[in-house]
Amino acid sequence: MNDSATQAAIESVARNSYGRLIAYLAARAGNVADVEDALGDAFAEALKRWPTDGIPEKPEAWLLRVARNRMIDAARHHQVHEKSEEYLQQITEEAQTVATTHDQFPDERLKLLFVCAHPAIDPAARTPLMLQTVLHVDAARIASAFLVSPAAMSQRLVRAKSKIRDARIPFRVPDPPEWDERVSFVLDAIYSAYTTGWDSLAETSSTHHALAGDAIAIGRTLVQLMSGEPEAHGLLALMLHCEARRDARYASTGEYIPLDQQDTELWSRPMIDEAESLLRKAAGFRRMGRYQLEAAIQSIHAHRAVTGDIDWPEILLLYEGLVRLAPGIGSLVGRAVALAQTGQPAAAVAALDEIPEGRIADYQPYWASRGHVLRMLGQAKEAEKAFTRAASLTDDPALRAYLFGQLNC
């Protein structure tokens, strides 16, 4: 392995162990914040020491030992013996015993994911909370990805953690009939991390790019933890299909390239294969859902690499299903585009017209799609208006240039 691969492997082990420890300790303490304080230093120490000392045989035991020493130091330093601190030390000792006596440290991260995406948590805090607690993503990086000041993001996270502690949000995996809804909150929070990492990125290797990678990492963990949940497979498949196209989205000269014109040679074959395999596995459960449908649509686009064309009738069928299950603005617009591509541009305009005014005002893909559909119908003037509106709604300079370029087609 080269240095960066070794570094990535070390980070991955450290993050995995850290997430397991936070989940285990927080579930017992009913408190994320204090547990994080205790383990944060240990995590930093691991990233410093492991590259030279090697990854310890029992990474959780190693982290706990450092954390425990820090806790004892802190207690001496502050000379406080608060009940909560004593309790935290006690459960840390217990965890240490578990870590040294078990081959594998117990994985209770699923409970932590359900807490982060609990309906009693502010929706705007769920994704950041998940990134911070499960993967130990740096708070400043989360703030920058979500376009808020570090102070505002830190306040949002602190508030969410206080709520978990004070309202006693339980660390538990919900049972049916709650399960489906609660799983969808977890999936949505992960997907939101991915789309935040995807939306505005002209520059690769940015914080946004890293965030998309973090989302995929949580998606992989989720598939492990919910091996019987088809939608978890669907979500990971969807993210991998999109991620596979990262290098094809912009020309080397920086121009935006729409999906149906991307050079399929630039798509990542291993990611597409993994996505396809996940989708097949999901289909085996015979329970359709939003993320499986969205991934299936991306799968058809991916198939262009093999067949050279796009099966639009199949895409339309999938969008019909998606609109019934999850009539979000994205699926409504996608369905209209599929109508236009299957030779029904008039029906496409009608479908676009049906979408309520309030949902389209700032939704760029609606106006871009409207432009394309109107142009198919030969309504050049109206199409230009729509493209102009779309161009004014994007923050991506390359996409803006592309949309303005449509005016002269």
Partner: protein, 115 residues
């Protein structure tokens, strides 16, 4: 852990004549709370026009006719329950027949975090 389930209702809910079916459902809900062993206490409140507001400022007692004029919803009643965690409290809040028209605010009580 003790939680207060506070029932907030718009003025119209107080103006309507008493619905015997709803009253029976409310009574059954109270009995269910009791039977489950989670009920600490509970009370229904008279309509908002019966409210009187009291403050003491600079040692001077001030009494005003209530309720606060700008309030859109009013406290109609409350139940205090003792359950293991928030999810259990939310389940009981959702079972309250008033939840289909009113909003139930679920708030943990101070000083019972360890209980």
């Amino acid at each position: 852990m003790k939680y207060a389930l506070l029932v907030h209702q718009p003025q119209e809910a107080f103006d309507k004549p008493r619905d015997p079916a709803l009253a029976a459902a409310g009574k059954a809900y109270g009995e269910a709370l009791h039977a489950a062993g989670v009920l600490v206490t509970g009370a229904g409140l008279q309509p908002p026009h019966t409210t009187t507001l009291v403050t003491v400022r600079d040692g001077k007692r001030q009494v005003h006719d209530g309720p606060y004029a700008e309030t859109k919803e009013f406290l109609g009643g409350l139940v205090i329950i003792d359950v293991p965690h928030l999810d259990a409290a939310l389940d009981w809040a959702a079972r309250n027949p008033a939840a289909s028209s009113a909003t139930i605010e679920v708030r943990p009580l101070i000083g019972y975090a360890g209980a």
